[in-house]
Symmetry: C2
Subunit: 179 residues, 2 copies
């Protein structure tokens, strides 16, 4: 796991925000030369492949400022400090879709952008969904619109780039493989 390890000579903190922080590390490369690595630290996230009784996928549309457009994604959110990923999965499902479940199964975890960020996203599948009687509240800066689509409808959204993010692209292939 440490092949070609780059040892840190010095780490310079640049920014410490509410979501991400940035540092620049001076490193020694495997050949003894030195280089700089720009690194984003992120608390990590979860995303939920939430499948309804009639085998539809729950998706949420939301505005992504980084892209300056809205896209359609599987429900997801950041890990709170000390929160187990499976609890985050249930919380985000409740907040973003109004559904809940006890039937959450871990699928896979992966780094989203290992070239510059340590963000890990933990993917769960949620089944046996029930509608909450009282909707959970979104974060105060979050606005989403819920939709329920078939895999075929989701693939059409990939084709016209309304679906345009890695976790949702992964989720759609994963669902196709279950069929």
């Amino acid at each position: 796991m440490n092949k070609f390890e780059e040892r840190t000579i010095q780490s310079t903190p640049i920014f410490n925000g509410k979501v991400i922080s940035l540092k620049v590390d001076d490193v020694t490369l495997p050949n003894g030369a030195t280089s700089k690595r720009e690194i984003i630290n992120h608390p990590g996230a979860v995303a939920v492949i939430a499948i309804t009784e009639d085998n539809k996928l729950l998706l949420v549309e939301q505005y992504r400022k980084a892209l300056e457009r809205s896209i359609i994604e599987i429900p997801a959110g950041k890990l709170e400090k000390g929160e187990m990923p499976i609890m985050t999965a249930r919380r985000e499902l409740e907040e973003e879709t109004g559904y809940t479940t006890d039937d959450l199964t871990f699928v896979q975890a992966f780094a989203t952008s290992p070239g510059f960020a340590d963000e890990i996203i933990h993917i769960y599948v949620a089944k046996n969904l029930t509608k909450l009687e009282v909707a959970a509240e979104l974060d105060e800066d979050e606005f989403v619109e819920l939709m329920e689509v078939t895999v075929q409808e989701a693939e059409a959204m990939v084709a016209d780039e309304r679906i345009y993010d890695a976790k949702t692209a992964f989720a759609i292939l994963w669902m196709k493989l279950q069929q």
Copy 2:
């Protein structure tokens, strides 16, 4: 595409590095309240699902400083300024694997971390690979080890988290769907 648009009140540049830059935008939310968005700008990237004659997948192991470990990924790299993604795909394939091809087909593009970054990764599939007689040179701060694996071997690497990034997770599901 502009549902729940967040309009920029003010944009504050924080950092401008060799790979990424960081800004903080003050925005107006759909309900009229204001918030801050921490945004990473990245030039974008390509990744290549490179399939050998005997249906093996080319993978490269490299150290990822952000994760402080080495992981095994499909060949990938950043877009150079003004470079068409398909040219980047071919260049990175040549540099990281020593193979080349004219048979590159676009699969899909997606944002890796739309919550905080504008990085888009363009995925290509490469077939009819031929070995370069003279190996292409890697970037001076790049060290990778090439391997050729079956889909089943790649799935084992997912299971023990040697494969641990979004684009490679996507690539393996994509290959499974071709079989």
